[in-house]
């Protein structure tokens, strides 16, 4: 993306402060001068310079670019679903400037060649930062470790067999212990595949009524419980992704109280929807872990509120319309999440006053960055201009047909949302601009 010099006028700016918290820089609107991909100046009443495009934000909210700890950007043999170009455009539409890309691509990212191929494709096609995860085990088979140190040195940001659980706890022990020597960590898809069996939705009164095989909440809970014990044994860092059950939240809360290095994220769709919200056999509501019960959802809120759950992550997973039109039990798992993520959690967590706006911004910016042990980007002179500008008052209806993604599998098509990403800057370049927004652009 060509980086132009920009002057953003009149934004309400939030940034990380010295203590690592998000706070408003000033109650008054500020101007931001963007030059050569960096923030050149932050202040009031900045005067436009030569060759600068001027955008009047008119009081919109300026945030650090969002970081997503969990996405499936496809490409490779699943380029019909999405590729790095289309999927990162979708990410930019959702305000994400950094996306962690899981390793269960086809073929899987489990060796140096596939990692180098990934990095090359990202460099050529991606419009935001993509951080590749490498597999924990070869072929995601849950048995033999990949060359983890080599992969970490070459740019793998974390390790995960996501999409599948590691069922052998001896393998997880080795992985946790070994990956410490690469100063990296494991992202856990926590599931007991035997308990899940052939299940395709939450085991519940609804699964009985639909005649569908259920995935019990215990499938996640027993995996989280034993993985915490293995972490206690092996040391290292473990991040639980897409936590969906009350039991898992309680276990992680206790593990944190015990001082273990555990972190956790939750998806917007698990915060927004319950199993009973699924229209009959609508595979756009099918994902793994599945939508859970009302009690689970309430526990997720509590986990977010007390900090047990650290971050928001989308588990963005494109699938073609044809694949999703199959018999429900045979339709693939996963839903898209980039473009609806912020509006959903803003409504569910902030407008309901469960957490502060600042805390939500932290859960989508500095907290995931810290989990990744990457440098915290603030909005200040000399910092990289990765910025997400949101219109917090905008009321709109999500229309997935307008998505830049090649896929359309979302449970939120037609959903009324409050707040919308208006502009996304990556390294100073405009990677997304909402055509409906009131931003004024003028070249001086």
């Amino acid at each position: 993306m060509e980086s132009k010099n920009l002057l953003l006028k009149n934004g309400i700016v939030y940034s990380a402060n010295e203590s690592g918290l998000i706070s408003k820089l000033s109650d008054k609107p500020l101007d931001l001068r963007i030059q050569d991909g960096l923030i050149a100046e932050v202040g009031q009443d900045l005067k436009p310079g030569r060759d600068e495009d001027l955008l009047d934000l008119q009081g919109l909210t300026v945030l650090p670019g969002f970081t997503d700890l969990h996405a499936h950007l496809r490409d490779f043999d699943q380029s019909d679903l999405d590729d790095f170009s289309t999927s990162t455009k979708a990410a930019a539409s959702g305000g994400f400037t950094t996306v962690v890309n899981m390793a269960n691509t086809i073929p899987p990212r489990d060796n140096l060649n596939s990692l180098m191929d990934t990095l090359e494709r990202i460099r050529k096609s991606a419009c935001v930062s993509v951080l590749p995860v490498a597999a924990v085990t070869k072929g995601l088979n849950g048995a033999e470790l990949t060359n983890m140190i080599e992969l970490a040195n070459a740019g793998a940001v974390a390790f995960s067999d996501d999409g599948k659980p590691i069922m052998n706890m001896a393998v997880l022990r080795r992985a946790l212990s070994y990956v410490l020597q690469a100063d990296s960590f494991i992202i856990s898809h926590s599931e007991d595949s035997h308990l899940s069996g052939g299940g395709c939705m939450n085991e519940s009164p609804a699964s009985l009524c639909f005649g569908l095989a259920g995935i019990p909440a215990a499938s996640e809970a027993v995996a989280v419980a034993r993985e915490i014990e293995v972490l206690r044994l092996a040391g290292g860092r473990l991040h639980f992704t897409h936590i969906s059950t009350a039991a898992a939240v309680a276990l992680i809360r206790n593990a944190k109280a015990d001082g273990l290095s555990v972190t956790a994220d939750v998806t917007p769709h698990h915060l927004a929807l319950r199993d009973e919200d699924m229209p009959p056999y609508d595979s756009n509501f099918k994902m793994n872990p599945p939508l859970r019960s009302n009690d689970d959802q309430q526990a997720l809120y509590a986990g977010v509120m007390d900090g047990t759950i650290d971050a928001i992550a989308t588990d963005h997973s494109p699938h073609t319309a044809y694949q999703k039109s199959k018999e429900f039990e045979h339709a693939p798992v996963g839903v898209m999440g980039f473009e609806t993520a912020f509006p959903l959690v803003y409504e569910i967590l902030v407008l309901t006053k469960r957490i502060s706006f600042e805390q939500l911004v932290a859960m989508m910016t500095i907290i995931p960055v810290k989990i990744l042990k990457r440098p915290v980007v603030t909005i200040a002179q000399g910092q990289i201009a990765n910025l997400t500008i949101v219109d917090l008052d905008k009321q709109w209806t999500f229309d997935v047909r307008r998505s830049p993604s090649k896929s359309q599998n979302t449970p939120f098509h037609g959903r009324k949302l409050i707040s919308k990403v208006a502009l996304t800057l990556y390294k100073g370049g405009i990677v997304f601009q909402d055509t409906d927004s009131k931003l004024l652009v003028s070249s001086i």
Partner: protein
């Protein structure tokens, strides 16, 4: 001809009872009036044959497709004969040897049948929800009858079972029905549960706990001992146990199943004296029901169920053509 036309006119009077739905997908949504309409109409077919309530001439000769993605002899034949007796042109699609075997989706198969001019599709599929999904895909163009979808529903089976029960009871209000066997994998059990509850019956279940779906006790009485389920029952419905359940480890052995959960004369003696024993077929004799009980005319109404199935399917097809 004039007498048949007048019969049609009386049928039309009942049209308000039928909601106008073009499809029979499940019993979950069926109203009491709709169920009674179908059962009453089936009763008229049972008494007078197809001529009792003939399909109006405008509908005769229309094409009906039997699309069975899963093997079935009984249900497919029953639908076939029901359609033919009403005057429909019935085609059985052998999907196991057709394009489906080459990977065609069930949506494409359905759309092809619509393009060929079929006006009703009777579908059986091994996956739950496929009838519902097919309605979403092509339901505006064709009538769809669910002949069984996965573990979800088999509505004509439940209707024929209710019809059979109503041949012995004036009403099912408060009538105790014990359903014995593998409920987890049974569409027959689910369709019966929803319909029987709606008709006021008192539904009880027993089987190996490994084959009882979670949360079943939210909808019905679930017993650990078969004797408690059968005690004072008006009807005992025996489900087929699939031998694969042993291979997949859900039951220790077919032998143990037969000893602990088989319905026999000794256990049926705990029920009401006039209890009737039902089975959706095909039976594994001496596994889930003893050969002697299955053959005992005092208790067994299995063949009556089969006959009623044919009349119920005529009533369903008639209604979907005439009352929509």
């Amino acid at each position: 001809m004039s007498s048949s036309e007048s019969l049609v006119a009386t049928e039309v009077l009942q049209e308000s009872i039928w909601s106008g739905r073009r499809h029979l997908i499940d019993t979950k949504d069926l109203t009491v009036d709709e169920a009674h309409h179908l059962i009453d109409l089936a009763g008229r077919y049972a008494q007078g044959g197809a001529a009792a309530v003939p399909l109006p001439a405008v509908h005769r000769g229309r094409a009906m497709a039997n699309v069975f993605y899963e093997n079935s002899t009984r249900t497919r034949s029953s639908f076939e004969i029901a359609g033919k007796m009403l005057g429909l042109n019935v085609v059985n699609l052998d999907v196991s040897s057709s394009s489906v075997a080459k990977g065609e989706s069930f949506e494409d198969t359905g759309r092809s049948l619509v393009a060929m001019g079929f006006e009703v599709i009777v579908q059986r599929h091994s996956s739950s929800g496929t009838a519902h999904q097919l309605v979403g895909m092509i339901g505006d163009k064709v009538r769809i009858v669910n002949a069984g979808d996965g573990a979800n529903e088999h509505p004509t089976q439940a209707l024929l079972d209710a019809m059979t029960m109503l041949q012995f009871k004036k009403s099912l209000e408060g009538v105790k029905v014990a359903i014995i066997g593998d409920v987890t994998h049974s569409r027959v059990a689910r369709s019966n549960l929803w319909l029987l509850k709606r008709l006021g019956a008192d539904v009880h279940f027993c089987g190996p706990n490994t084959l009882m779906p979670s949360y079943l006790n939210k909808f019905a009485n679930v017993h650990l001992r078969i004797e408690d389920a059968i005690k004072d029952a008006d009807f005992v419905m025996v489900l087929r146990i699939n031998h694969e359940r042993q291979q997949s480890g859900l039951i220790p052995s077919i032998y143990e199943y037969s000893q602990i959960f088989r319905v026999d004369h000794a256990r049926i003696a705990l029920a009401k004296p006039d209890v009737k024993v039902m089975h959706p077929g095909p039976m594994n004799r001496d596994v889930e029901i003893t050969n002697a009980l299955a053959n005992d005319p005092q208790y067994s109404v299995v063949e009556r169920q089969v006959a009623n199935g044919y009349f119920i399917r005529m009533a369903v097809l008639y209604t979907l053509f005439v009352h929509t």
